[in-house]
């Protein structure tokens, strides 16, 4: 499988946003991303998959295949869903180490830093933290297995 480095995907998104000169265009793009996010099956919409610290409900699940993490998510708020969709586009399919190290500077570059500031209201920071926590957990499992070998 050929996967673009995280940095390159971030650059793509920054370029996309560079084309927008109004807030409407930006948000329409995010809303569109939200609407297009792959569905998360109802069986995953469990309390244990909910991210705390969001005004809206956000579910996030991760699977680990051949050293790569794949995320799936959903939210009842479409802008938040669009933001998760972008995070998934950037992080999904990468190795735990790559995800842990990702700086995600694109969020500031595209002017969504204010969403980071509103930690309690829409929890972008909580989502990132949760994604990184998955990466840390999968990495720990790998290390344990190596130790046992």
């Amino acid at each position: 499988m050929d996967i673009k480095p995280i940095n390159d995907i971030e650059k793509d998104i920054i370029e996309d946003f560079g084309l927008f000169d109004s807030w409407e265009d930006k948000y329409e793009y995010i809303i569109d991303m939200g609407k297009k996010l792959a569905v998360l099956e109802d069986e995953h919409k469990l309390d244990e998959n909910k991210i705390k610290g969001c005004q809206s409900t956000v579910w996030l699940v991760a699977s680990y295949e051949d050293g790569r993490i794949f995320f799936k998510a959903d939210s009842d708020a479409v802008i938040v869903k669009g933001l998760i969709s972008m995070l998934i586009r950037v992080l999904s399919g990468h190795t735990p180490a790559e995800i842990i190290e990702a700086r995600l500077d694109f969020i500031g570059e595209i002017g969504m830093m204010t969403h980071l500031a509103q930690i309690r209201s829409n929890g972008l920071l909580s989502m990132i933290k949760q994604m990184k926590n998955y990466a840390i957990a999968f990495q720990a499992i790998d290390n344990q297995q190596i130790d046992h070998k």
């Binding site: 409407e24 948000y27 005004q55 809206s56 009842d76 708020a77």
Partner: protein, 404 residues
Amino acid sequence: MATLDLRQQFPILNRMVKGKPLVYFDNAATAQKPQRVIDALTHYYTHYNANIHRGIHTLAEEATAAYEAARHTAQEFIGAAAPEEIIFTRGTTEGINLVAYTWGRQNVGAGDEIIISGMEHHSNIVPWQILCEEKGAILKVIPVNDNGELAMDVYRSLLSNKTKLVSVVHVSNSLGTVNPVKEIIDAAHRAGARVLLDGAQSAVHMDIDVQAINCDFFAFSGHKVYGPTGVGVLYGKKELLESMPVFQGGGEMIKEVTFEKTIYNDLPYKYEAGTPNIADTIALKAALDFISETGKQQIRDHENELLAYATAQLQAIPGLTIIGNAKEKVSLVSFIIKDIHPQDVGVLLDNQGIAVRTGHHCTQPLMARFGIPGTIRASFALYNQKEEIDALVTSLHKTIKMLL
């Protein structure tokens, strides 16, 4: 009421947000401050900053006089019988906690009951839960009907000789409902219970006369009455405050301290341990004076007009449902829009310069009662204008179009 003249006294209203003139509709969360409140703060720090009640120098005398003048103004503002019935706190939350930790611990025991309502702010739920858990007491809840009014018949049936306290919100911050507090208080007193009113939302809109309504405690916050943050008022009937145990210990609240025994100070200082929030308390006086001079009736007339206009305009938007249709309401409209999350609306309105509140408004049980995750709340103040409601309606149409 000359709204334009009043607006000019609020410098923040001139600012732009995201390139658009600010429309501030989050007044129920906190109100903006008139210039005279801001001036009172800087004047204090520029000219007579000193610790109060202790110094014998000129600055200390001036600061003490200004601080105690604020107490008199607060007393008049809510119609208390005596200045010592006014305790300065950090806000409504601290006022309620003070009562829970002092009066509550002294008077509530195992099997006793405390009645709150289904529309309480978390500040008027959690302190009583803590108390009930500690004492083995029971928390009872007055239900809310579909219009957002209290089920008074159920309330009356909840009252019994086990009821020690009824603690309810005077005006709901999520629905705008004005509760029939006189009726609530009279019924509670007949059952032998005391009543605390959460006045966080009512103090700014309603005429408050604690003696006429005969509540035992009344708490409100400075920042919601055009005053500074970090200061509030707890009113308590004198005989109650006198019989209650102390809250925090420290300076100011004592008469005499030896290692064997401390003699506590008289009211109200008994409940004001440590150096109080002198600057903000002095500026609170400026805010209360501002309201009194503007005239609560005039403010209410203006706000009621805004409420009627906003209700009609918002109701006409397809898919929009107003949550809270009580017969008596203050100038606040909570609503939801079909198939749209409140938070999405809040984000897009902010991009159009409009500040509203979205979410559960610290009333999660109430949101659960209506089966919704939260609402969008536009709350109006004396400086808001019909044109701003028009701007909200226009922006909402655009927002809905973007989201659907």
